[in-house]
Amino acid sequence: MGRSIESILGRIHPAFGAPKPVVPAVSALLAFDGMKAPLVEIKSVVKRFASVEAVAGVSFTVQEGEIFALLGPNGAGKTTLVRMLVGITRPDSGTIAFGDSLSSGHGPYRGRMGYLPEERGLYLDRPTIQTLAYLGALRGLSRSRAEASARAWLDRLGLADRATHKIETLSKGNQQRVQIVAAILHKPALAILDEPFSGLDPINQDAVVDLIRELRSEGMTVLLSAHQMDLVERLADRVLLMNRGQELVAGTVPELRARYQGAPSIRLDVVGEINLDALRAHPAIADARIEEDGAVTVVSREGEDLTAAVAHAASVVSLRGIHSERPRLHDIYVRAVREHERRMETRSVS
């Protein structure tokens, strides 16, 4: 094989062999390293609709310059939370504060916020540039500045030649782009994007991912909610997972992975015969199994060094490749929600 197991493992994941990192509690997110000052602070926010508690005491902070993702199944309370954030509805209790001094109340901050609603909506019978200029003016830009900014954005997104066209004549993807431009053309400090990828094909999804990254690089803070876990995984600096109006878990994607990793495992591409009993014989290995595609998954025992397990495997089978088995955000999402559902059921039964 010619390379040491340690060097292979090091290339796969730097955390191999290292102690499991401690995932901070949700409240500890108020002090997030590597970012600037907090831009949004939500404390114990509650919102009820009749007997339904749509948001049940959620707290989190969004730091300046980061991409923060709200995740959760349908009905988790994300959109209700977002609507309170943008000032469309008010919380029944709790506080939402904005800006450098984290002052509460939306009034002074409306112009510094951009919003892409989940329920998309534009004036379809009006020309694109006029609609954008109007929405920009509502955000505090002068009409001429709003129009200039709208033209610049349309040019940047390759829609300059459609500026005077009615919005109803644009394709769905282009309408979505125009909608995003409407949310950001006034260069807000905070862009709140509710389901920015919904209804888009993969190419347009990638374009939106690139656009959000550009916004971040230009200093904009982005708070988004989405269902597309692979895209969120690529984009988000931090994630807050919600279910039934409650916060389940929060942190950076690596932190969440570490938390939901369970027993470390690796996936081996092998050549020749596989002796599972020989593989399982090592005390560091809890289990070994052959997958449908012929690969072998080796699970180490809790607390054991994965390096020893890999070294043992390499001694009993011919290795062609070693892959880390990192939990995807999708898996974390599903697992966290299911665990929460089970807890809720148990609580309701007892």
């Binding site: 469309i88 409306r110 909506g121 929405l135 505090g140």
Partner: protein, 417 residues
Amino acid sequence: MSSIRTVLEVARWEFLRFFKVKEQIVTFVLIVVVGAAVWGIGRVADLGRLKSVTVAVIAPEEFWVEAPPGTRIRFEPRDAASVPALTQDVDFRRLDGLLVVATSDSAVLRVGKVAAWQSDVETAFQAASKEARLRRMGLSVEEEARLARPAAWTVDHGNPAAREAWRAGRLWSVLFIVLTLMGLYLGNAYLFVAITGEKRLRVTEQVLSAITPQTWIDGKILGLSGVAAASTGVVGSGFFAMGWLTAFLNAAFGAGVAGAGAGSAAGGTSPGPDLTILLVDPMFLLVASIFAVLGFFFWFTLFAAVASTINDPNTSGRTVFLFVPMIPASICFMGLKDPDSPLMRLLGVLPFSSHAALPVRMAMGGLAPWEIPVALALLVGSIWLLRRAAGKIFALGMLLYGKEPRWSEMWRWIREA
């Protein structure tokens, strides 16, 4: 951006959404052209009327009829032997009529069709019959002349200028009520289209994240009041231009019944152009315009709140509210007969009707000096209160999709806000 600037920005947007200059020019031109066309059609009808009507008369030797002055009837005496041929001529429309006078007290008119001139023939026969009976009574010439002389009859209008002013006031009152009602319907229709459309297109959240619901509804009401006022102004100008045009056409080509298109508005059937009636009192125009615009504010505020609670205008029963402004307008139409009646005095100061009733009273009635400021204060105060309540309903209604809220719920929103 300050709230007032944002309100103006919304108002500008709403105005430009619905006020299309090209359409307004077309409307104006269309009114003037239609007015000219009606005048032209009337003229053609008049020319048709100039054709004389020939009626053959078969009567005893001592009896004769004369066509009344100003009619188109021409009587032609014939002998009794030609009755069968004349009857055939009438039946085949070669002759307009055949009058057969059996005695001075009895006659038969045979016609091929029903026509307006037949009453003129009857009048002529009755006059001739009366004449014949008088002759039979053996009266002297002086006695006959005294009997035939009509009694003196004069109507004293006092100051002719006052009479003209009353006529002009009536004209402008009718025109004003019609135009204001048109503006209300136009604005209300736009308001329903704008608000329910925005809900349907899901623009609501986008806008409400940028501005407050109160700012939004204020801007909408201002913008659409502007649309209603401008559209009303265009239509009013169109009617005005039509009046002038028909008056000038009458002057140039002679007045006829045709002038009545704007006709009756323009002073009608008078022989020459009657332009004085079109000269509106500037004070009336100012006060009426102020009350019209405030009336738009009042009703549009109410309708914006109602429209925000409508989910689908095609199925909602609340669209019936569009007809509510008909009530004060109808009462004001009835009040034209007696603008100083207690009911009209009351409607002149009540906020929901003062925009229509007060200008009527100003133009035709004896408006007391205190009525204008009182009506104005009540109307402005009501608009202010209504605006606040409507803002609360609008804020919640615009975010509701699906089931429409009940009236009791909406009342609770106002109380709890």
